[in-house]
Symmetry: C2
Subunit: 186 residues, 2 copies
């Protein structure tokens, strides 16, 4: 265990922050009423991948909430000092013990309700040897017609699978975004 460190804003006692528009800005921020320190709030980055082995796609059944028991792609929060591609490789390993090679950026989705940016890669499994990591109840390789659509965890997983299918026969493919009018809510 390291010695105590200063967490963000922990030198500001409760109640001294207000939401106001700082000078030169155009929206409300968390501002310390004592010293003017601005505590910016930022969207989070999720990285993941649609991974294939021949004509099958890797999915992971979630062992944790939200959406425990439903199927998802190997994906999770990007870490500090990590590239988005390295994050996708790490998540494939952590959630499915899968070794993958990235082929390109399949999609950049924004889930505005969650302030979440998702960078989803298309990837190829190095081998079909996959197994559940600690956050997965099971992992499996599905042919398109066998994908358990009613048990897919999140709308963006359905988007990514559809966008993957559009790209599947192409070495070069155009990166996609949210389907028109869809925001990732259920």
């Amino acid at each position: 265990m390291s010695p105590p460190v200063q967490p963000p804003a922990a030198d500001h006692p409760t109640g001294t922050f207000v939401r106001r528009v700082p000078e030169g800005d155009n929206r409300e921020r968390l501002v310390c009423g004592d010293c003017g320190h601005i505590q910016y709030e930022n969207p989070k980055v999720v990285v993941g991948s649609v991974c294939r082995w021949e004509d099958r796609i890797l999915l992971c059944r979630r062992a944790i909430n939200p959406r425990k028991g439903f199927w998802t792609l190997p994906a999770g929060y990007l870490e500090l000092q990590e590239t988005t591609a390295d994050g996708a490789l790490r998540e494939a390993w952590e959630e499915a013990r899968a070794q993958i090679e990235i082929e390109g950026v399949l999609a950049v989705y924004t889930i505005t309700r969650l302030s979440q940016v998702q960078v989803i890669y298309r990837a190829r499994l190095v081998s079909p040897d996959v197994s559940a990591g600690p956050e997965s109840a099971e992992v499996a390789l599905f042919r398109w017609d066998d994908i358990p659509w009613p048990e897919i965890a999140f709308p963006s997983v359905r988007w990514a699978l559809a966008h993957y299918r559009d790209s599947v026969d192409r070495n070069e493919f155009t990166t996609r975004c949210n389907p028109a009018g869809e925001f990732g809510d259920y």
Copy 2:
């Protein structure tokens, strides 16, 4: 001004946070020694665009540090509850009073040293009427041969311009990432 609100971690007095690996995790986090609250630290998202009018590209000379006086693309931090595309539109307006139409995701770069993910679009100016916003000293439309390369603010601006040029004659183009071995340091 709104009433005081609770900032992140502001209920944790100085010195109670330690960096340690929480149970079930595999890397050090900021953890409150009193209550176990984990203060996650996350990469930040920058959104921006390479914007063209005919054969010219929009650049903004920075009026602020870092790299004051150098030329950059209209880009900045994504806000909460904002899509990456909307963020790029907002930044084009704020920095260059430019109205743009997005054509696709040109690149996803990671600047690991800064824990920064950059989502850069290719875009078309709706009109050549542009002018400096508050963070720009001036804005201008450059032909490729006139781009002031020694005065470009950041390596990722050079990457984006080069990747833009690769894509310029194509309606469909492949999203790019950091050039091999480059991390955005000078």
